[in-house]
């Protein structure tokens, strides 16, 4: 078996024990690849555990710029005894097995189609370093040094990365540099020429892109969008949105002099209260948001109904994870589309945004505040674990200083003073379904009203009159229509040739989907792609679907939830949309998707769910 040979196109999997300090070493490696100018997408595959369970870190390097998970592993760095045999077994034929050769490999490791690369990590480490606590951490750095040699990376990029990483704890720099060199030297002396996976610096591939996780970008979007009140309850994978918000608030929201914070971050007792805090603040004129994941969405449903019906502009970030129930808390999914689209009892629907990149997390979150206030409704930003918690290559974040917050329809003191006709909170004077709000404390005698979740007339008075109720509900439909004109439009990515097949996707699925489409295009199969950015769906979505003979909807949940939403909301026949799903908790993998699409399109069969397993981890 020939060893796999490729340059700037490979997948390395690091197999570690959770809590062993491997994360920073692995990060260092991924950043170094990025600094070589190579498109990189690192993905954490981690357990719901603080210490002891297996964790993997999969780094894909792709010269073509493919950022989705590829599937298949070319090299594994096997640092976890518990999973070592499985990691060994799952390597592709011709792959490289890097292991700690301080101990001999057991006999059952007898594959003939692999290249074994032993690095005596424990021995090297024990000889070089005394501090037992440091040893565990430095062992990880030693293998990074080894990889640098094996993959032909510039060692300076790694040493620079170490210096940057420890600039605030400079006493840690020398031992880390030493560890890097130990690994590098050992590999050079013992494994010269054995590894045919290589990297080469490129200056033309990533341009001005950044490497950032989606949750940090979301948090920054909330800062730029002017959020001042946050209610939240910890839940993976959304917690770091709030942590980042707190850090950015420290940086950008301290008052001069007094040092007080121009933001209130309230850790609530549960998600009900978290959203209640956001509703109370938004009702009272502050921009407010919360971030949560599936279980939190379930708890928030009651309040989402209130915000919908009382028309309160809340921003909710849902970093989706694998359900149902507690599900797989540290695995990714796009499983809350229906739960969010229709959250709460009665006739409710909510505005959804679907970011795919950190840059979109940033702009969509910032924009969500404008949309929520303009439309006086909840806006849910539908991120997921893959996007939120993994570093992603992304266009730089961009802000237009000339743009002004759209605070929507709010009457201030002078406008109230000047009012001649009777004001009604829910009167649709402009025909867009949106009334004018007022904030408490604005005017001594005008503009006070009673907000309620019970049925109300245009003046917000309680009413059980059928006509009044119907009128109000119809106005909300009118508002829904208005929203379509304000939400981001879907993005069409037409094939080079005329295509009879269309593919609809959204969020993190777009990377593997795009890669699959390009792969199939090279085989002569043309597919047009539509990336959905928001719900409600605009006419462009319907036109795209009607304009193709067959349309595939690719998403990461079992029940094809976006497809269901499309069928229901766009009045389509089920056979118009073919479901393609991947929902094993791992980010959807491009290679498996290609296989599935090939079979599906060859069989001419539609409306069967095709599961594209991401591959075990």
């Amino acid at each position: 078996m020939k060893p796999i040979q490729s340059c700037n196109d490979l997948v390395i999997r690091f197999a570690n024990v959770n809590g062993s300090g491997s994360a920073s070493a692995n990060n260092l490696f991924a950043r170094a690849v990025f600094r070589l100018g190579l498109p990189v997408s690192p993905k954490n595959i981690f357990p719901s555990n603080i210490q002891g369970l297996p964790t993997w870190y999969e780094v894909r390097i792709s010269e073509q710029g493919y950022l989705g998970r590829r599937g298949g592993v070319d090299m594994v760095v096997a640092m976890n005894g518990q999973t070592m045999h499985r990691d060994y077994a799952e390597l592709q034929p011709g792959g490289y097995f890097v292991y700690d050769s301080s101990r001999q490999l057991p006999e059952e490791y007898e594959r003939q189609d692999l290249v074994l690369i032993g690095l005596p990590l424990t021995n090297l480490c024990n000889e070089a370093f005394d501090n037992p606590r440091m040893r565990g951490l430095l062992k990880n750095i030693i293998y990074v040094g080894g990889l640098a040699y094996l993959l032909d990376m510039e060692l300076e990029v790694l040493t620079a990365a170490v210096e940057l990483q420890y600039r605030k704890k400079s006493q840690l720099i020398p031992p880390n540099l030493k560890a890097l060199e130990l690994g590098y030297d050992h590999a050079r002396r013992h494994h010269q020429g054995r590894c045919l996976l290589t990297t080469r610096r490129r200056d033309d591939l990533i341009g001005d892109q950044i490497l950032m996780d989606g949750n940090a970008a979301t948090a920054l979007g909330a800062i730029y969008g002017g959020a001042t009140v946050v209610g939240w309850y910890p839940i993976t994978p959304s917690t770091s949105v709030i942590e980042h918000f707190g850090r950015y608030a420290e940086r950008f929201r301290r008052e001069e002099g007094g040092g007080r914070l121009m933001a209130a971050i309230v850790q609530a007792e549960d998600e009900l209260a978290a959203l209640g805090i956001v509703i109370g603040a938004a009702w009272n004129g502050a921009r407010a948001f919360t971030a949560t994941s599936g279980p939190g969405i379930s708890l928030m449903s009651e309040f989402l109904g209130l915000a919908y019906f009382a028309e309160i502009p809340v921003v909710l970030v849902n970093v989706q994870r694998a359900g149902p129930s507690t599900g797989m808390p540290t695995r990714t999914q796009q499983g809350d589309i229906l739960a969010c689209g229709y959250a709460s009892h009665g006739d409710t629907k909510h505005l959804l945004l679907f970011p795919s990149t950190p840059a979109e997390c940033f702009t969509m979150t910032a924009r969500a505040f404008d949309l929520a206030e303009r439309l006086q409704a909840p806006v849910i930003v539908m991120s997921d674990l893959d996007l939120g918690m993994n570093d992603q290559l992304s266009p730089p974040l961009n802000w237009d200083d000339d743009g002004r917050y759209d605070r929507g329809k709010v009457l201030d003191h002078d406008q109230l003073e000047a009012l001649e006709e009777q004001w009604g909170r829910y009167r649709d004077v402009d025909g867009d379904g949106v009334g004018y709000r007022t904030f408490p404390g604005t005017h001594p005698s005008k503009g006070a009203y009673f907000t309620r979740g019970t049925s109300h007339d245009e003046y917000s008075k309680y009413s059980e009159e059928s006509d009044t109720y119907l009128q109000n509900m119809e106005r909300l439909v009118q508002k829904w229509e208005t929203a379509k004109g304000l939400l981001p439009l879907p993005e069409e990515r037409p094939a080079e040739e005329k295509a009879a097949i269309g593919l609809v996707c959204y969020g993190t699925t777009i990377f593997s989907a795009q890669e699959a489409v390009e792969t199939l295009a090279r085989e002569g199969l043309a597919i047009d792609v539509l990336v959905i950015k928001a719900f409600p769906f605009q006419q462009a979505v319907v036109d795209f679907i009607q304009g193709h003979e067959e349309v595939l909807v690719v998403e990461q949940n079992r029940d094809s939830q976006l497809r269901t939403l499309l069928l229901v909301e766009c009045g389509l026949a089920p056979e118009q949309l073919t479901p393609v799903t991947s929902y094993d908790g791992l980010p959807i993998a491009a290679r498996a998707l290609v296989e599935q699409l090939r079979t599906l399109l060859a069989s001419g069969q539609s409306t069967t769910t095709t599961v594209t397993q991401g591959g075990a981890a």
Binding site: L211, Y224, R253, M262, I277, G280, F303, S445
Partner: protein, 350 residues
């Protein structure tokens, strides 16, 4: 429902210091049952706001769901109101207060709304010492869903349906004292003499001011065997002390004897003068406050009045060290770091 209400009532009452008449604090006509304790409490709230010369539009009234939670509709029509969902008023107030710390937040709830479905939100608002007045109209039952016992119904108490309540009751005042409310009081809807000054003191306190007002439900829980009936409460209540509340700005004209009177100065410089039966019991001591409640309970008595005050307690904004300006008044120029800062961030991420 709309009723015509003459606007020339209370001709004897002049405008208060802020220039408002009593009617300026009133709200819509009540749709509660005639004789419901909640209505009397609403009257007392109106009276207290008037006497304190509060500007009605600087008050925010919020509630959950229940007969009691309908109250915001029956008072302060010049104030913004928010009738939220069952048991969730405290989180709405938390958010509202975070957005604008300059208004007075009046939360009205029921014993079902607070002691059952809303227990979590209640205790955590107390823990945060949120700056608000939290009033529970406590009738020992769920009025709006037709009289089921609530978690504050006393063990052995018998309501209209005739079956005694067999479960332990929750004492919301004790919980509030234990969890850090800066001001805790208990009163009776039928005792305006006590309730109005108690409300005024609560409204002047900065931090969580919690008042549990026993408020008979005439329809479902006013039987002679119910411990939340008019009859029972009149027979079995005992005040911690009589007290005077002297708002800041008002001159103190009376002299109090030393020894039996304790003066507690609130953050806004108002003073509560407590004329105590037992000069030994300090109302500023948590443990003594809880003991006093328990001792009276053992004797089958309901202790009323100011139960506990901590004038030094810090409210949520102080704890979080948030801006002294209302957060909802901050403008884009202050909130948005702009493109130059973003450039720097992009650079850090390369």
């Amino acid at each position: 429902m709309t009723f015509f209400r003459p606007s020339f009532r209370h001709p004897q009452l002049p405008a208060n210091q802020a220039g408002y008449y009593l009617r300026d604090y009133e709200g819509g006509i009540s749709t509660l049952c005639a004789g419901c304790g909640h209505d009397s409490i609403n009257g007392a709230i109106i009276q207290a706001c008037y006497e304190l010369s509060l500007e009605p539009h600087r008050i925010v009234k919020l509630s959950g769901i229940g007969c009691s939670s309908k109250s915001p509709a029956y008072l302060l029509s010049a104030a913004h109101g928010f009738n939220s969902v069952h048991g969730r008023m405290p989180s709405i107030v938390t958010g509202a207060n975070m957005a604008n710390r300059e208004l007075l937040y009046l939360g009205i709830s029921g014993d079902g709304d607070t002691a059952s479905i809303g227990m979590g939100q209640f205790v955590h608002a107390v823990r945060r010492n949120l700056n608000m007045v939290y009033i529970v109209m406590n009738n020992g039952c769920y009025g709006l869903t037709k009289g089921q016992y609530s978690a504050t119904a006393d063990k052995g108490s018998v309501g209209k349906k005739g079956e005694p309540n067999l479960l332990e009751s929750i004492d919301l005042c004790e919980i509030a004292i234990q969890l850090g409310a800066g001001f805790v009081g208990r009163s009776f809807s039928g005792d305006k003499q006590q309730l109005v000054p108690l409300l005024k003191a609560a409204m002047s306190h900065i931090g969580m001011a919690f008042i549990d007002v026993i408020s008979p439900c005439v329809t479902f829980n006013n039987t002679p065997t119910s411990t939340k009936s008019y009859h029972w409460v009149r027979e079995h209540s005992e005040a911690t002390s009589t007290f005077d509340f002297v708002p800041f700005r008002q001159e103190i004209t009376t002299d109090y004897e030393n020894g039996s009177t304790e003066a507690v100065t609130l953050h806004d410089h108002s003073v509560i003068y407590l004329h105590k039966k037992d000069p030994e019991v300090a109302v500023t001591d948590r443990r003594q406050a809880v003991d006093a409640l328990e001792e009276h309970k053992e004797e089958g008595l309901i202790l009323t009045g100011v139960l506990y005050v901590d004038p030094e307690s810090e409210d949520t904004h102080t704890i979080l060290n948030t801006s002294e300006r209302p957060l909802n008044s901050l403008e884009q120029a202050e909130l948005c770091p702009g493109s130059a800062a973003l450039k720097e961030i992009n650079e850090e991420l390369r």
